[in-house]
């Protein structure tokens, strides 16, 4: 367990390092010299000595690898820079916008699980039943629905034609209803499908079949025999869909003018506020990598015996 955790941790660091390299490369491919870009805003770019002074201050007169190292050590010390636009620290800007985004993601997760756990497991246990076929057909359609279009239709239905809910801004619980609903509907189709296939797969495990042959009560058989085995793939599913939920949250924030990180990032792209883009992407990427790492560890933490046994019955 510990050895796996450590070796997987090196992979995590390597991925993160590659990502910083990627961002650094992009920064240098960006059209325009950052110093000139910044100084242009102050109208000082024409003065060569000022440019040179700034270049020296930010280490831009050094070689690329040296610049990368300089930049990286800065990052490691937590220097994410300040926004061109507001002059405030990027960390602070992000922190103040974290809550709406996280609430949006968390509630979407909750609603998605609420819809998909009963349906996914139910259709898996009653494979080939009518409910199962209808759900499958719907999921093919559901996987093709553009999230943004669904959101617009929901807006149209519940905001315009039948004005029940606000379609813009945030602040009250009611503002969350439509975005959460849109994300959950789209994600549920995927979750139902995955949960169904886990159920079908683990239902065929020899030990579940044997437990059935012993006439175990359903109330014991399903929760503590079947679902226990499905815990690992379930956790993996939940953990690995965080990026999808995050992406969906960005879209929703922009449609519903929600003041979260996603909207902030897109706004700053349009204003070409490089430190913000850089800071946001590094933080979000780090969060995602870390979450993936933790999900992978769950594989061992939950119960390795189930996985070992699975390898055996599959061969």
């Amino acid at each position: 367990m510990l050895r796996y955790a450590i070796s997987r941790f090196w992979m995590l660091l390597l991925s993160m390092l590659l990502f910083t390299l990627f961002v650094f490369a992009l920064m240098h491919m960006a059209p325009g010299d950052p110093v000139r870009l910044l100084l242009n805003d102050f109208g000082a770019a024409r003065d060569q000595s000022v440019v040179a002074a700034y270049e020296q201050q930010w280490g831009l007169d050094q070689s690329l690898p040296a610049q990368y190292l300089l930049w990286l050590t800065g990052l490691l010390q937590g220097k994410l820079g300040t926004s061109y636009l507001t002059g405030l620290s990027v960390t602070g800007e992000i922190a103040s916008r974290l809550a709406p985004t996280l609430t949006l993601i968390a509630s979407s997760y909750a609603v998605t699980l609420l819809i998909s756990i009963p349906l996914g497991i139910g259709t898996g246990l009653r494979e080939h039943s009518r409910l199962d076929r209808v759900t499958y057909a719907l999921s093919v359609l559901g996987l093709s629905i553009p999230l943004y279009w669904l959101a617009i239709i929901l807006m149209l239905l519940f905001g315009v034609l039948w004005p029940l809910l606000p379609i813009i801004g945030s602040g009250s619980v009611r503002h969350y209803v439509l975005p959460v609903l849109a994300i959950s509907i789209v994600q549920s189709f995927y979750f139902i499908r995955m949960l169904r296939s886990f159920t079908v797969e683990y239902k065929q495990a020899p030990y579940i079949e044997a437990a059935q042959a012993r006439g175990l009560k359903s109330i014991v058989l399903y929760p503590s025999y079947l679902f226990r085995s499905m815990l690992v793939p379930f956790i993996t599913l939940v953990g690995s869909s965080f990026p999808a939920f995050f992406g969906a949250a960005i879209v929703m924030e922009n449609i519903f003018s929600f003041p979260g990180i996603g909207k902030y990032m897109l706004d700053m792209i349009n204003r070409r506020d490089f430190p913000v883009i850089q800071g946001c992407s590094l933080i979000v990427a780090a969060a995602i990598f870390l979450l993936n790492y933790l999900t992978d560890l769950c594989y061992y933490a939950v119960d390795p015996r189930i996985q070992l046994e699975k390898q055996r019955w599959e061969n």
Partner: protein
Amino acid sequence: MKLRFATNTTVMAALLFIAALIVCGLLGSWFQPFDPYETDYSAKLRPPGAAHWFGTDYLGRDLFSRVLAGIVHSVFPVFIILAVVSVISVVTGMISGYYGSRLDMLLMSATDMFTALPNLLLTIVIIGFLGVGMENVYLAISLSWWAKYVRLIRGLVHDVKKEPFVLAARVSGSYGLSTMMRHILPNIMPQVLTMIILDVSRIILTLSGMSFLGIGAQPPSPEWGAMLLDGKNYIQLAPWLGFFPGLMIFLTACAFQICGEKLRSRYKLK
């Protein structure tokens, strides 16, 4: 009562739809009743009707013509992206899967990085530094799909490598490249193709999604996502603007998804 989805009639309908889409895309202007870019202020925001089947937008442009013109911007790039990406990833995936070693390890952490990040974040990073535009969206999508395919193909190669016929070929003196071309590639091809078809709908959704967020195609491009963005802003005045382009995205994605599902059940792919 039969409710199996991938029945032959549905698959036929999906294929017909795709064929019609391609024809309309290639012979675009023949089918378009109006010029998709021509503005007509006298016919602003007309609801769908006999003259304008899908209505007109705030500049009086015919939405139906624009939707047809959008095929070239929303669907065709997907084919090109997939063609390029799959060739590159088949090559890298096969090399990585066949030879293993340190290169493999580095490649895997690189692909790990790209697959872990949501498409949207990757696109935001790329667009954020390189500027708004469709080419950068293509680049971002290619990078994340390349990574996904390399991982999948590498896994497939690993499995096929252990098959007796491959071992036999290697024992009898067949070298890396010829083994790969003659024994490994043909055996992973059906799975790879299924995978690609299944992904068409997802890439269509992603591509239009980027334009919808305003970081892909820019007005006046009739890209479906960009048109939806206009529609969103006119949701109270002209709801049809937000409906038809989205419907097209949905139907197109659906058609490809149905074909993909059919292939998936045929090749027993997970």
